[in-house]
């Protein structure tokens, strides 16, 4: 289902991807010219992430580590398949450099969707990319072909800051899923014990 949704977006890409839309922006000119592919790329992450929503709810949270591994495995597989599908379609439609830009965009969007999924639940993962998209367009565009350093969907392909931002978002999103209730409690307990031990340490001799 997730791949099907990405497939549908890939089908739309050749028709909408190259259209330039005039959108309001905070930059000097007040307008940003946004190509369709930058928006569609945000949607490429919806399929794999929303697919993780399951109606079993509580039953799942009570299952063991194996089930969680399977879930993350399916997510990783789905995400890779969808990203690859979208990347290859972009490669065919726009060519190499642009396809790499699309790929970088997907990496960032995936991280945003994962982060939203951790905070709001799998079903509401779309909130992340959909809320970030207007921010990226409005404040990320500083002028014609000029973008803020963190604008990971539009800055030149050789821009290290944009790659770091996209990768950072992905790491943040993925990392958020590693922090489950038990690990969080363990970390808090560990820190608490350490703090107590430090405070009990006798003052060193003068």
């Amino acid at each position: 289902m997730g791949v099907a949704l990405t497939g549908a977006l890939c089908a739309v890409l050749p028709f909408v991807g190259s259209i330039m839309f005039s959108v309001p922006a905070a930059g000097d000119s007040g307008v940003a010219s946004v190509p369709g592919w930058r928006i569609i790329a945000a949607g490429a992450t919806f399929g794999p992430v929303l697919f993780c929503h399951s109606p079993f709810g509580e039953m799942e949270s009570a299952t063991g580590r194996n089930w969680r591994r399977v879930q993350l495995g399916v997510l990783a597989l789905n995400a890779t398949a969808c990203s690859l599908l979208f990347f290859l379609t972009s490669l065919m439609v726009f060519g190499g450099p642009m396809a790499l830009l699309v790929l970088r965009g997907i990496i960032g969007w995936m991280g945003t969707a994962l982060l939203a999924a951790r905070l709001l639940g799998w079903r509401a993962a779309w909130v992340g990319p959909l809320a970030l998209l207007p921010i990226m367009i409005f404040w990320g565009t500083e002028g014609p072909q000029q973008y803020a350093w963190w604008e990971f969907t539009a800055r030149p392909i050789d821009d290290p800051a944009a790659w770091v931002t996209a990768a950072g978002l992905l790491a943040l999103g993925a990392g958020a899923h590693l922090v489950d209730r038990w690990r969080w409690r363990a970390a808090v307990t560990f820190l608490r014990r350490r703090t107590i031990r430090l405070s009990r340490r006798p003052p060193s001799a003068p």
Binding site: M1, L5, V16, I19, F21, S22, V23, P24, A25, A26, D28, S29, G30, V31, V34, G36, I39, I40, A42, G43, F46, G47, L50, F51, H53, R123, A124, A125, W126, V127, L130, A131, L133, P134, I137, F138, W139, G143, P144, Q146
Partner: protein, 434 residues
Amino acid sequence: MLLIHVKRSPVRWIFPVALAFNLAMLFFRNRYWIGVWPETSAAAQMPAYLTSGLAAAAAAWSVGAPHRHGTVEQKLPLAVPRWRREVPPVATVLLYFVLISLIVQAIAFGLTLRTNPPGIELWPGYVVMGLTVICLAVAFGHVVGKALSGRFAAAVAGLAWFIVSMYLGSQWDFGVVSGPVYNELDTLTVMVRLLGAVALISLAVALPNFLARERAAVSRRTERRWLRPAVVVTVAAVVLCAVTAVLGSPVKGREKPAEVLCVGVRLKVCMWPEHQKYQSAVEDIVQRAERLPAVFVLPGRFDEYGVSYQMRVVDGVIDLTDRSGLPPYFYIPDGSTWALSGTVATEIMKVSLRYCAKAPFSKGEQVDLRANETEAWLEAFLAGGGRPDYHTNRSGEAAAAARRGEERANHGSEAEQFAWAGERVTEYNAASCL
């Protein structure tokens, strides 16, 4: 019933975030819109246009609530027909997003009201435009929510609406990025669009559920209950959409104003009366121009775009032909008075410098560069110093010359600057063409 939905809808959590987001979009940018009515409502409309994707997603999310909550079966035999039961949730989404838009508009309105400039009649058009986009987004989201399963509906609705709205904004003027004073919105077109959008919401509500599993659970007779309202709103929506298409873009060039706002004596600059807030800035520019040494010849008058002639819109583009005998025009785009100082500088240079009339229109590279430097100085001097607030595509020596000219306007006394500039003009006029 509406109150219960308003109190319990998940959109109430989105409301403060979306409101903050909208206000941030209004304030964390150039604030030139404060003090000019059409710019005020256009600027406050713009966040609604950008965040309408969230409204579409929320509408799709809300229509899927019976599936998420597992209430489909128990609601099937209720006396109130399905389409009437859909009204409170869709009205709730609409209410929250309309409220956000109105709050943003009210705040913007209050800020401009403090100076109370003329032209308040230009304010409501863009407010209605913003509301229309929200209505369209809600209608779109509602239909998508009915057509797709709950999991993907909101995401698809939000993303698809983002693209659709940008298309509508770019191609059909359903959203604008600014509201310049030389434009106005056609009241009839704007109102018809709003009515059409409301009719589309009604149509979205009246439509049956497209999901096969829901259809299977309902008897044909139950399903037929939507038929009559659906036919009525379909006809209404089709008629309104057709009228909208016929009426075309609501953005129209304004008629020449009966009274204009003019400043200066030797150099007269005339503006739209709605641009009252720029009066003192323009007066400063005019006074600086009037202080220039005698080698600089002042053209008699400058008019703001659209002030001195009747604008015609041909195929959606303002026709600029046939301006013979009219004074040069200037813009104040996004509140930038640099545009005026640039235009005045260019026109002064045109009448003060003896440019070459024949190809290759040059007096030698260095002489031309020095003339560029002088023009850049003049522009910066008229603007009162500082750096231009726009980007140019100048490069190499031309850019360096312009930078030198701007630097000069920021250093030294006025007498020194005038002496330097007068020397440059005399030097240029003495040089011969290639």
